[in-house]
């Protein structure tokens, strides 16, 4: 990389988006850039963005597959609102992303695919590169197809494979732009195609060709570096939300000395948790792909009854189907974690998009007074912590827990400082021992949790069921007073969990002019927006909830300190309404978005500014 006089500009952070046709390998390209940046020590966050169809028609806007990555030497909390650099492998990719590039940003296009036919498929009459659609942008027209073909002309590689390595050319260009070494990707390619060395060689060649192309052409007047972030020391890896969530369960089961049982039915965007857990029979994990969601949850309850850590995973419509069985778990007071990776509703809605609109369903989607614990994860990596915590609570308190994640978290990824199981809190399942007298509904004085007796334990034979239970004995009881008592015990048992969870934290001033409230998957954008405004000197604070039910004990006293409160959610105000139920007298403004998309930091900042001015 010598002999180049162009300047190298040092950036704080940058957002890069790779976009192309579904077959163009954009996910792989993005992941490679991610891994390389991670190893260089950047903080980062990524988000893939697939077409809704399995294989939408080639070349169309519906068929565009993208991968966005946000890297920085500062703390990175979202995959970025809009891209500084866009790689567009065809006109459709350009069109699909045209509103999501920063004014004046760099666009690298594969000019070879701007033919009449490709333009038409994308719905362009004329090339947008030739009218003034992208005036002011820095457009790099790279003949990627041609140069890839050239590079491999005498390699003996056949046409189809040549086409498939175009993405490496693009990756090479971007590596050059950001002054990154190619070694990581080279190692990766060698491993991945270890049985086909000719493919390895070809891909490496093409990547270098791209790199050299960038080094040569005049168009790229500068290259950039993004220096390492000051992350805490440790071993890191990249994790996706769904993967982290699956792993949290693995850790919890091991820690609790329980076998993990997952009963599930595939549904987007939750299926990957099933896929991930299905890999680990070596860790004793049993995954049962049931005939439907109801069988999924019922098998999990059965497994819990028989002594496993029973969990079930789903998305919105699946949660609707599980309502009745959750009620049974409430009545029988068994451990059970229900994961809902939320997507756009109502009904089938926007199945591949994100939303936070299942909160009230999680709270109330069952007959009768049927309280459960509700937790929400808020970053891809902390999905690990929350599935761990959900398992801990359900096993120690013998009460079902619903864990809310969402499509944005589930598919998003970020670096994660690997934890060691020995540093994780102990999990002590609350189980009756052989030899003592057993009353199924006798309770711990403090937590109100009952003890489980596991089938196979001598002398603890007993019967559970969905009919109202008599206090202590657990016999069926139609007694009016008993019913009232049991309803209040079930509620109180959940409330008492507030005693063992940490106090809610506040980011920003303890009595700022504006308090922003959020929960779950919007953390990254809310934090970034509030952080930016704080550094601008605004009087603003953020309270972001992960414990939804029960709310942390100090919530009421925290809220008292703020006069103006705005609750920001990707729904039409469900958490705001939940707060209204709990904190009568307080006034909550709302900021809501229902577009299947996350908040952008920009829109949040601008809204908060307006509120601060008032």
């Amino acid at each position: 990389m010598e002999g180049n006089n162009r300047k190298v500009i040092d950036l704080e952070k940058v957002v890069i988006k790779f976009a192309g046709d579904s077959g163009d390998g954009m996910q792989l390209t993005g992941t490679q850039f991610t891994d390389t940046s991670a190893i260089l020590g950047n903080d980062l966050a990524t988000f893939p963005d697939f077409p809704a169809e399995i294989r939408a028609p080639q070349g169309t806007v519906a068929g565009v597959s993208g991968f966005q990555i946000h890297i920085g030497r500062i703390d990175i909390n979202t995959p970025g609102d809009i891209a500084d650099v866009l790689v567009a492998m065809n006109p459709a990719a350009l069109k699909a992303n045209k509103n999501w590039i920063k004014k004046g940003g760099t666009i690298i296009v594969n000019i070879d695919s701007f033919t009449k036919k490709d333009l038409e498929k994308a719905g362009y009459e004329n090339s947008p590169l030739e009218d003034n659609s992208f005036e002011g942008f820095n457009i790099i027209q790279a003949p990627i197809t041609k140069l890839t073909r050239e590079t491999l002309r005498n390699s003996g590689i056949e046409g189809k494979s040549i086409g498939r390595s175009k993405n490496m050319f693009a990756l090479g260009i971007v590596y050059w732009m950001f002054n990154r070494p190619m070694t990581q990707t080279e190692t990766f390619l060698k491993k991945k195609f270890s049985k086909r060395p000719e493919i390895v060689e070809a891909n490496i060649k093409v990547m270098h060709a791209g790199y050299n192309f960038a080094d040569t052409i005049e168009a790229l007047t500068s290259s950039y570096t993004v220096l390492p972030a000051s992350l805490r020391k440790g071993t890191y890896r990249n994790v996706m939300g769904n993967q982290a969530l699956a792993w949290g369960f693995l850790a919890a089961a091991e820690k609790a000395r329980k076998e993990l049982f997952l009963g599930s039915y595939p549904i987007t965007p939750a299926s990957d948790i099933l896929h991930e857990l299905a890999k680990y029979k070596n860790l004793g994990v049993k995954t049962f792909q049931a005939e439907d969601e109801i069988a999924g949850i019922c098998s999990a309850i059965g497994a819990s009854f028989a002594g496993n850590l029973g969990i079930t995973t789903t998305s919105g419509p699946g949660l609707s189907l599980k309502g009745e069985a959750i009620g049974l778990a409430v009545m029988t007071e068994l451990p059970l974690v229900v994961v809902d990776v939320q997507r756009g509703g109502p009904s089938t809605g926007l199945p591949t998009k994100t939303e936070q609109s299942d909160l009230l369903q999680a709270l109330f989607g069952r007959n009768g007074e049927s309280p459960v614990v509700i937790l929400a994860s808020s970053t891809p990596a902390n999905c690990f912590d929350w599935s761990y915590m959900a398992s801990k609570i359900t096993l120690e308190h013998n009460t079902p827990v619903i864990l809310l994640s969402d499509g944005y978290l589930g598919n998003g990824a970020e670096p994660w400082k690997i934890k060691s199981t020995k540093d994780m809190p102990d999990i002590l399942p609350n189980i009756a021992k052989e030899g003592k007298e057993y009353q199924p509904y006798l309770r711990d004085k403090k937590t109100l949790a009952r003890k489980l007796a596991i089938p196979g334990t001598k002398g603890l034979e007993h019967r559970l069921g969905g009919l109202e239970k008599e206090h202590i004995t657990g016999n069926v009881s139609y007694d009016p007073e008993n019913h009232e008592k049991m309803c209040s015990i079930r509620e109180e048992k959940i409330k008492r969990i507030a005693e063992i969870i940490p106090n809610q934290e506040v980011f920003g001033g303890k009595s700022a002019d504006l308090l922003v409230i959020g929960w779950g998957g919007t953390y990254g954008s809310l934090y970034s927006a509030v952080d930016n405004l704080i550094s601008e000197g605004e009087s603003i604070a953020l309270i972001h909830f992960n414990y939804i039910k029960p709310l942390p004990k100090n919530t009421a006293s925290l809220l008292k300190k703020y006069n103006t409160i705005v609750v920001c959610e990707l729904n039409s105000g469900q958490f705001a309404n939940y707060l209204r139920m709990n904190f009568e007298g307080k006034v909550f403004k709302q900021y809501n978005k229902l577009q299947g998309l996350p908040f952008t930091t920009l829109e949040l900042e601008s809204h908060f500014r307006t509120l601060l001015k008032k």
């Binding site: 439907d292 199981t421 019967r463």
Partner: protein, 334 residues
């Protein structure tokens, strides 16, 4: 191991079925059958859905779970996979198993999870006070269809065999001996053992099986199948079943030169379900109804195959604890 008696399996809960209900006899038969299995009491789990029949677990001194309507096979599957050492019994009714629970029922059978399903078929919804069920005879008039049902009923045997059942038996609630014997053999079978019990509901569907169970007809209308034995029945034990091409036929021993050797010998172990299905479809008045174990074939159970996979993977994988997993693959140091 200490030997248990029926009393050991009797819980302290008052039995609340209607006086005269067929469920009582079934309960007693189970309580008498279980001690013969020489298993520990704490390893028995009874799981049911909702219905009169589904109250059953309360009356058994064993682990029990009265779950929700129709879903017992799914709970049973979870229980068995969680602990394959348990003896898992699903108690269900014709509504619970075949109306709301039909899907879980057929999936359990196809997977061949090692549980025992006792289907209390009274051809009616008892608990909800007498609506027709998916096994009610076509045309019966109930509250929910006073002009007579237009529903063709399921035949539990056809449905089960169509769902790849490996074990199917049928009994009547008036034959406690046969019940006990079949419960014992059902538990012995590895895989899903489906036992249909024709059970009389005295309140809402009284005598619906009287053409099978009534004293005066039962000898002529019941054929009790035994593996390896000729299919002989009748008040004089001189009637038998013969195969004529593709059809079953009743013949009389001693008439037209027929002797015992002409009579079909029951083979419950035959993999091909064709004859089992035909036998199970026989009905009075043209034929006797087949009771006993009609089908009992070996095929791998769902739980045992999962246990093998678990064992294999535990032995042959690169790591076996979570820390190793977390550290595996692409990592970097900061």
């Amino acid at each position: 191991m200490e030997h248990l008696t029926n009393k050991d399996f009797t819980s302290d809960q008052e039995v609340k079925w209607c006086p005269g209900c067929g469920d009582y006899a079934i309960l007693r038969s189970i309580q008498k059958a279980l001690p013969n299995l020489e298993r520990k009491r704490e390893d028995f789990v009874f799981i049911s859905g909702i219905g009169c029949s589904s109250r059953f677990p309360y009356y058994m001194e064993a682990y029990g779970f009265h779950s929700i309507h129709g879903r017992a096979p799914a709970f049973a599957t979870g229980i068995k996979l969680a602990n394959p050492n348990l003896s898992v019994w699903q108690i269900t009714g014709d509504g619970d198993a075949l109306a709301i629970g039909g899907n879980h029922f057929i999936h359990a059978l196809r997977r061949n999870i090692d549980i025992n399903i006792l289907l209390f078929n009274n051809e009616i919804y008892g608990l909800t006070k007498g609506q027709f069920s998916p096994t009610s005879k076509k045309g019966i008039q109930t509250k929910s269809n006073p002009h007579g049902t237009t529903d063709e009923p399921f035949s539990p045997s056809d449905l089960a065999i169509g769902a790849q059942a490996s074990f199917f038996a049928r009994v009547v609630d008036t034959n406690p001996k046969l019940m006990q014997q079949i419960f014992i053999e059902g538990e012995g079978h590895r895989g899903t053992s489906l036992i249909e019990i024709l059970q009389n509901c005295v309140i809402f569907n009284d005598k619906t099986f009287s053409n099978i169970t009534a004293k005066d007809v039962k000898k002529d209308h019941q054929l009790i199948l035994e593996h390896g034995k000729p299919m002989i029945f009748g008040s004089e034990m001189n009637k038998g079943i013969q195969l004529n091409g593709f059809k079953l036929e009743i013949v009389t021993i001693g008439e037209n030169g027929i002797n015992e050797d002409h009579i079909l010998v029951h083979n419950s172990k035959e993999q091909d379900p064709t004859l089992h299905a035909m036998l199970a479809r026989m009905r009075p008045p043209l034929f006797p109804i087949a009771l006993g174990i009609i089908r009992n074939v070996n095929r791998p159970t769902f739980d045992s195959e999962i246990v093998s996979q678990l064992k294999y993977e535990k032995k042959n994988s690169a790591f076996n604890n979570v820390d190793d997993l977390l550290q595996s693959g692409n990592t970097w140091e900061v």
